[in-house]
C-alpha cells in the first residue's frame, strides 16, 4: 500500500518544467503626465534673450499685482491691522511685486530693487530697472515688499519653499529671525 501511495504521490505531483516568462514589452510610455526631465530640458525657465525686453514691459504686470493685493486685503490703509496683511501675504503670490533687498549677508546684494519675475525654491529672479536679471538667493536675505504704504519685511531664510508649496503650508514662528 505504501508503495502505491508513494507512486500516487509521485504521479500526481506537479513537476515544474522549464518555463520562460515573456515580459510585457517594457511598460508603455506613461501618458505624458509628468515628463519632468524632458520638460526641463525644453528650457521652461527664462532665457537670456528676454533681458532685452525692457523693464517697462513688466509694469502692467506690476499694476495687476497691486490690484490683486488690494483686492485680497480688501482695504487700503485705514485701520486694518498689519497682522492680517501679513497673514494674507504669506499665502499670496509675489510674482510681479516690487521687492528690494534690505539686508543680506552678502553686501553686494543689498539694494537690489526690481520686479519679481520668478520664484523658485531657493531663489528670486528679479529684473532691475537697468534690464538686468538678478538672481538673488533667499538664504540669509531680508526682502522688503511695499504695498500702498505698508512695508513688510520678508525673511528669506524662512521662505525656502516653492511658491506653490507656500500657499499650502502653515508657518510657525520658530527659531530666531536673524540673518
Amino acid at each position: 500500500m505504501s508503495q502505491q501511495a508513494r507512486e500516487d504521490q509521485l504521479q500526481r505531483k506537479a513537476v515544474v518544467l522549464e518555463y520562460s516568462t515573456r515580459r510585457k514589452q517594457k511598460e508603455k510610455k506613461k501618458k505624458s503626465k509628468g515628463l519632468s526631465a524632458r520638460q526641463r530640458r525644453e528650457l521652461r525657465l527664462f532665457d537670456i534673450k528676454p533681458e532685452q525686453q525692457r523693464y517697462s514691459l513688466f509694469l502692467p504686470l506690476h499694476e495687476l499685482w497691486k490690484q490683486y493685493i488690494r483686492d485680497l486685503c480688501g482695504g487700503l490703509k485705514p485701520d486694518t491691522q498689519p497682522q492680517m496683511i501679513q497673514a494674507k501675504l504669506l499665502k499670496a503670490d509675489l510674482h510681479g511685486a516690487l521687492v528690494s533687498v534690505t539686508k543680506s549677508k552678502c553686501p553686494s546684494y543689498v539694494g537690489v530693487t526690481g520686479i519679481l519675475l520668478q520664484e523658485t525654491k531657493y531663489v528670486f529672479k528679479i529684473l532691475t530697472k537697468e534690464d538686468r536679471l538678478k538672481v538673488v538667493p533667499k538664504l540669509n536675505c531680508v526682502f522688503t515688499v511695499e504695498i500702498d504704504g505698508f512695508i513688510s519685511y520678508i525673511y528669506g531664510s524662512k521662505f525656502r519653499l516653492r511658491s506653490s508649496e507656500r500657499s499650502a503650508k502653515k508657518f510657525k514662528a520658530k527659531g530666531t529671525v536673524d540673518l
Binding site: S32, W65, L72, H95, S167
Partner: protein, 146 residues
C-alpha cells in the same frame, strides 16, 4: 455656500496667476517661458490644494507642458471630422500634445445646467487676455464651481 476662507484666497491667487500669464504674453508674444512658468505654478497650487477649476479655463492650459494655449500663437486649432462628428483638435506647439473636443451644436447645454447656475456668482467665462494696459478685472473667483 460661502466656502472656507483659505480657498477663496487660493482661488484669487490662481486667477491672478492666470491673468498675469496672459498679461505677460500680451506684452511680449515671443516670451512664452514665463507664461509657462506661471501656469505651471498655478497647476501645482491647484494640485496641492485640490481645487476644482472650470473646464473652460482648463482647456486653455496644456496638460503636458502646462503652457498657456492661445490659438494662433502657442497652439494650432483645427476642426476635424471623425466618425461623423465634428471635433476640435488643439495641438500644443511645444510638446506636440493634442486635445480633442467634441463640437456639437446640439450639445451646448452643459454650461447651463442648474447646478452650474446655482454656483455662478461670478461669470463662467475665462478672463479675457489683457491688451497693453492693465484692465481692472475683478479677481473674483472665476473658477469656483459648486
Amino acid at each position: 455656500m460661502a466656502g472656507p476662507v483659505k480657498d477663496r484666497e487660493a482661488f484669487q491667487r490662481l486667477s491672478f496667476l492666470y491673468q498675469a500669464a496672459h498679461c505677460v504674453l500680451a506684452q511680449d508674444p515671443t516670451n512664452q517661458a514665463l507664461a509657462r512658468f506661471y501656469c505651471h505654478t498655478e497647476r501645482t497650487i491647484a494640485k496641492r490644494l485640490v481645487l476644482r477649476r472650470d473646464p473652460s479655463v482648463k482647456r486653455t492650459l496644456c496638460r503636458g507642458c502646462s503652457s498657456l494655449l492661445i490659438p494662433g500663437l502657442t497652439c494650432t486649432q483645427r476642426q476635424r471630422r471623425c466618425r461623423g462628428q465634428r471635433w476640435t483638435v488643439q495641438t500644443c506647439l511645444t510638446c506636440q500634445r493634442s486635445q480633442r473636443f467634441l463640437n456639437d451644436p446640439d450639445h451646448l447645454l452643459w454650461g447651463d445646467r442648474p447646478e452650474a447656475q446655482l454656483g455662478s456668482q461670478a461669470d463662467l467665462k475665462p478672463p479675457q487676455p489683457l491688451p497693453n494696459a492693465a484692465h481692472p478685472i475683478p479677481a473674483h473667483l472665476p473658477e469656483e464651481k459648486v
